[in-house]
């Protein structure tokens, strides 16, 4: 289907502006009981047409936030505006928001076409127009001609696409996706990830996507908000989140990371065990600290003299304690004087494979070693 035709089905991108905030969450708070803050004073702006991922472990408040935007959950305190329209106190059925649920939530007693047409019927769209829009929406999710099926006759992936068509056919101002991929198997999840992202970009529809899967968040989203214990730990582009985590929690939660105990000796100098390493202390000059290094940012070479390595590179001698073959990478656990570093080497590029007990040299760049004050983000 052509982009132009699609715009006719669901025109979302006519009204103005590039980076100005379209969805504004201001001080969103959800309190249960006297003092349990499920969501604590969240501020997020999402520009028009962008996809925001809310990423975090279960219980971090991301789904609570989504349900408050949808209006399915009362807000303790806050203001939510879409395109300047304050919807904080609108009932959910008048918010004009599309929501796709984790379990699809298709109506089992209706056909696929009736499911997709339901929102149009609620809006009083005429029968002929509704039929055309339903068929176009089904074409958009690559299910043309499936209208007469019952949801139970379809696979999980197909049901999820019907749910997506049903949410989009009403041309909502905002699309919410609540862990839409977590009930699908791994292969299908990869396909759906790409498909959802393509549709979202084609329609330029502002979207909030809740997930606990960092791969989904990093690969699909324009903006990622990492949530932890009801608070926004960091909001940024996927690259910001991965390369410049704001605190230890984000560094640890997003991607795999070695975390080593140490002490900051001076600005950008951390002592770990007996050695002092140049690193990024993010302005800190003293105190107990945790240092984070990604496993694949450590390169391994057979043991040689430290003086042969450039002074601009961190290096530590170590001994392989465990070798784990994962397929695309080999994982080596390396003991560097009391601390264990987990490292990864791509199997394709592994010129040399190491054996358990072998001595070698680990090298990494100072900027790949992020140092956080003890207890940050916990």
């Amino acid at each position: 289907m052509q982009t132009q035709e699609l715009r006719q089905v669901i025109p979302a991108a006519e009204t103005n502006t590039g980076d100005q905030a379209f969805l504004k969450l201001k001080g969103i708070t959800k309190r249960y009981g006297v003092d349990y803050m499920a969501v604590d004073d969240l501020d997020i702006d999402v520009p028009k047409g962008k996809l925001l991922g809310l990423l975090g472990p279960s219980g971090c408040g991301k789904t609570t936030t989504l349900r408050m935007i949808a209006g399915l959950l009362d807000i303790t305190r806050s203001k939510i505006t879409i395109d300047g329209d304050d919807i904080s106190h609108k009932p959910p059925h008048k918010r004009d928001i599309g929501l796709v649920f984790q379990n699809y939530a298709l109506f089992p007693h209706m056909t696929v076409a009736q499911n997709v047409a339901f929102g149009l019927e609620m809006r009083g769209v005429g029968r002929v127009e509704a039929r055309d829009r339903v068929e176009e929406a089904l074409e958009m999710v690559r299910l043309p001609g499936y209208g007469e099926r019952k949801p139970k006759e379809m696979s999980g992936g197909q049901q999820q696409r019907v749910a997506l068509a049903r949410a989009l056919v009403i041309r909502p101002r905002l699309l919410l996706l609540d862990e839409p991929l977590s009930n699908l198997d791994a292969k299908l999840r990869d396909d759906m990830r790409i498909e959802i992202r393509e549709i979202q970009q084609r329609l330029q529809i502002t979207t909030v996507f809740v997930t606990h899967d960092q791969v989904e968040a990093l690969t699909m989203c324009d903006l990622v908000g990492v949530m932890h214990k009801g608070k926004l730990a960091q909001l940024g582009t996927p690259e910001d989140i991965y390369e410049r985590p704001a605190d230890l929690f984000v560094a640890d939660f997003v991607g795999r990371t070695n975390i080593l105990d140490g002490e900051i000796e001076a600005l950008d100098r951390v002592r770990i065990g007996a050695s002092v390493y140049p690193c990024n202390t993010r302005g800190l000059t003293s105190g107990k600290a945790k240092a984070a290094i990604r496993p694949h940012r450590i390169s391994l070479t057979p043991s040689r003299d430290r003086s042969l390595v450039s002074m601009a590179t961190n290096a530590a001698h170590g001994k392989v304690t465990r070798v784990t073959y994962i397929g695309d990478v080999v994982q080596y656990d390396i003991d560097i004087g009391g601390n264990t570093l987990t490292t990864e080497v791509h199997t394709a590029s592994a010129g040399h494979s190491f054996q358990s007990g072998e001595k070698l040299l680990c090298e990494w760049k100072p900027q790949d070693m992020q140092v956080f004050a003890q207890g940050s983000g916990n």
């Binding site: 059925h93 939530a105 298709l106 109506f107 139970k152």
Partner: protein, 263 residues
């Protein structure tokens, strides 16, 4: 699966069916007897006792009374049981478990104990031999079933479908009308049918509280067999079995139908 049943297993199933159906196999031929007393096999055949049954004032009146009571009990039982099941399943409140156990406790009591207890209370309340009394007594039997069935119906309602309808623009009333009620329909039909049959067939508790002027059909039959030995009760039984089968058949058809258009 069915093709793999072994011969001994088939025989066992056949025996169980025979055991369950044996009374009907005796009663059905007996109802077409023209004899003046019960003999099996009958010596003469005819529709004499069917004719006698329909002209027997006691049975006709009892049938009407039983019908009115069963209908009333069904409606009131649903009116009480459905909201109770809804509250227990959907709302969080203190004493939820306690209420559930309280409401379904009559399921565990033998009817004879329940009948005696009801008798003692009804004597005080002057409810013996009244419509009100019979209806209350039958509600005590049927409502726990309604609550049980509706609890299951509420918990098999697929999660989030109501929220999904809301997000598509349906008002709370429309959500109930278009989504909740249609999906609960099998539960409604099942509990209504069960209520009706339980009330219509109820003997033990009714025996305690019916009076000379207000007798339900099962009580009338019970009394009749005690004093008479003619085959009219067989004819009555066949009519009752046929009526029950008709109801079950209708349910099967509607539920079967809703399964093909639903789920």
């Amino acid at each position: 699966m069915i093709g793999q049943l072994t011969l001994p297993f088939r025989l066992l199933v056949a025996c169980i069916y025979l055991f369950l159906l044996a009374p009907i196999l005796i009663v059905l031929p007996l109802s077409f007897s023209n004899d003046s007393y019960i003999t099996f096999p009958p010596e003469s055949w005819g529709l004499r006792w069917y004719a006698a049954m329909f002209s027997h004032a006691g049975f006709a009146q009892a049938l009407w009374i039983s019908f009115v009571i069963a209908i009333t009990v069904t409606i009131l039982g649903l009116a009480a049981g459905v909201p109770a099941a809804f509250a227990i399943r959907r709302r969080q409140f203190i004493g939820r478990e306690f209420l559930l156990n309280l409401f379904t406790a009559p399921l565990l009591l033998p009817s004879i104990v329940l009948g005696l207890a009801i008798l003692l209370v009804f004597v005080q309340a002057r409810l013996l031999g009244t419509y009100t009394g019979l209806i209350i007594a039958h509600l005590i039997i049927t409502t726990p079933y309604v609550i049980r069935i509706m609890l299951t119906a509420f918990s098999t309602l697929p999660p989030s479908v109501e929220d999904a309808a809301t997000m598509l623009g349906a008002s709370p009333f429309t959500v109930v009308r278009r989504i909740t009620l249609p999906l609960m329909m099998p539960g409604f039909i099942a509990s209504a049918a069960l209520s009706f049959l339980l009330s219509f067939d109820e003997v033990v508790i009714s025996l305690f509280i019916t009076g000379p002027r207000l007798r339900t059909l099962p009580v009338e039959i019970f009394d009749y067999v005690e004093s008479q030995t003619d085959p009219m009760t067989a004819a009555v039984s066949v009519v009752l079995v046929a009526a029950t089968l008709l109801i079950i058949f209708l349910i099967e058809r509607t539920l079967g139908l809703s399964k093909t258009i639903g789920k």
